[in-house]
Subunit: 338 residues, 2 copies
DNA sequence: CTGAAAGCGCTTACAG
DNA sequence: CTGAAAGCGCTTACAG
């Protein structure tokens, strides 16, 4: 196995010093045309690519940024991360990625791993994490932006949206349809501030409406079968809820299946609303009412902010994006008493 | 901004040579207890973390691997990549990720970027790529495994499945339901061997059944609205197809919406089958018949293989995984002539 | 515009 | 078990 060619090899072949080759690579204008041509030629002949470690060592910068997200398998993050990566890529930055599986211990482990791999900045999801993680980030002064949530006045940089407010708003829309008995299928709120905020926002909205009540609140992991099971539990009670607010679209999709299994009509017998507006929401029957999360803008904005921070211009303002209530067929007026 | 502490700083504080500190970090057994204690102490006081670039330079290994995938926003890759990353992470390897947007030029650009960022191995999707890309990979001897497809006897390492065979098989199941007039909504086949193989497999199966015919073949990008539009085109013909084979589930979901829009019953009037079995497939009404792709096993196996190859034991065998035909409500017997 | 040379922070034979 | 020293491949003042 022949070793990779080095800058030195290129310099030798071109009959030029390594200094000039290096310049030709990083700042072509500083090099004469003749030299440049011979260098380019040597590079293609050799198939040369700069050694990353050496460059990082010499320049003291790695051109990489890391993202630790709960999971890749939920469409809820995919587009946002994709947008994040695209902006980074345009800036010549490479994305290191790792998943935590919603486990704070694992999140810390992955953060350490990415940082020691040279990530000069980090994208993190949500605001629930180990104290140890905060301390680690603080002592190493690792630039990081927190996304998929937003809080005012915290000493963190957020690029996200207000889960509580969005859920509160969505619930008000449900109430406006005349629903009085509302149940909530929240995501697993352990170590998940977004799930908690969505749940609490919904509860608060119902509480603020004096004539309505929350019948059940259950938690379920973000899986279709879990949503289905949770929905079955809820709907098997005598004094049935007429509307279900779900922690995300996956849960809501499961709930829709369960409702249909119980021979209930959506929305005539039961209204169901999701959260996130992933692709599946518009494809189910009836189409799902949900809350659109500005994934792509969020990914872009987070990348832009992080790029700034890493470049040493900490734009501490943060970015608060709006969500949008998307009304589709799964929400209807409350059934009149039979 | 104080610079990060170096190995030298730790050595000074501990009153020990850098060689020993380095050993304490990488091979603790080679260092005496007393020295180890003082080193550990110095490390925590200083908050020391090894410099990644320097280590990479000295050891000539980066502990990173790259993946270039068409897109993150399609659930079709998400779980597989997640599994890939998890296996890597357990082996102490970090994943660099980039997306190509199904554009071969962009794929090459991203490959170069990840390689120059130190990726010591690559996961690539599919077998369609620029000659220049093959050449680049070959001359640099970059270890790479190709996934989401499988071919025998090629000089490539594949960890995937046979798209052609899977589509052929699925189409036979459709034929077995008595369908004679079949149309195909393929994905965009430009630079996409998987889409092409799926299309061609379906066409071949129909061709091999002497009494059936392919009525239309259209191509559409993997988007719901594109599938919907393609389906409308196809169904607006007089001598209507009774079954639609789609290049993936997203396209099929769009087709289902279109069929419903035309007041056709699925599957009584028209059968629709997808490909991939992403989450959405089991949630639509009726549930979608599709082909399950072994995403997770594929991701794991690709990681395992790549780990071996990067470690210098090129297991050139490759891995061929099976797909599974998942029969659900969207496929039914061909309608008897009215 | 170009080159010689120092230096980035680590690892690892080689001695002891 | 420990240390002195060379070397990994690049970049960048400093001279010219």
């Amino acid at each position: 196995m022949k070793a990779q060619p080095t800058l030195q090899d290129v310099a030798n072949l071109a009959g030029i010093s390594t200094a000039t080759v290096s310049r030709a690579l990083n700042d072509p204008d500083k090099v004469g045309q003749a030299a440049r041509d011979r260098i380019d030629n040597a590079i293609t002949i050799l198939g040369y690519t700069p050694n990353f470690g050496a460059r990082a060592l010499a320049t003291n910068q790695t051109n990489t940024v890391g993202a630790i997200i709960p999971t890749l398998s939920n469409a809820m993050f995919a587009s946002g991360i994709q947008a994040f990566q695209e902006v980074l890529s345009e800036a010549g930055i490479t994305l290191l990625i790792a998943t935590s599986g919603y486990d704070p211990e694992n999140e810390l482990r992955q953060i350490k791993s990415l940082v020691s791999q040279g990530a000069s900045g980090l994208l993190l999801i949500g605001n629930d994490r180990l104290d140890e993680t905060r301390k680690y980030l603080a002592t190493r002064r690792t630039p990081h932006v927190i996304s998929w949530c937003y809080h005012d006045g915290a000493d963190q940089m957020f690029v996200g949206f207000d889960n509580y407010a969005a859920a509160y708003d969505a619930t008000q829309r449900v109430l406006a349809n005349g629903h009085k008995r509302i149940s909530i299928i929240a995501g697993d709120c352990t170590s998940n501030d977004r799930a908690r905020a969505r749940r609490d926002g919904a509860i608060a909205a119902v509480g603020d409406a004096l004539d309505a009540q929350v019948v059940h609140v259950v938690q379920a992991p973000y899986r279709i079968d879990a949503g289905r099971q949770a929905c079955e539990e809820i709907l098997n009670f005598a004094n049935r809820s007429t509307a279900l607010i779900c922690g995300n679209d996956v849960l809501a999709a499961g709930a829709m299946i369960a409702a249909r299994g119980l021979n209930l009509n959506i929305p005539d017998d039961i209204s169901i609303v999701g959260f996130d507006d992933i692709g599946l929401a518009s494809v189910v029957t009836p189409p799902m009412t949900t809350v659109r999360v500005p994934q792509i803008e969020m990914g872009r904005a987070a990348a832009a902010l992080l790029l700034n921070v890493v470049a040493g211009k900490p734009d501490l303002s943060g970015v608060r994006l709006d969500t949008q209530f998307i009304e589709r067929g799964s929400l209807g007026p409350a059934p009149t008493k039979g």
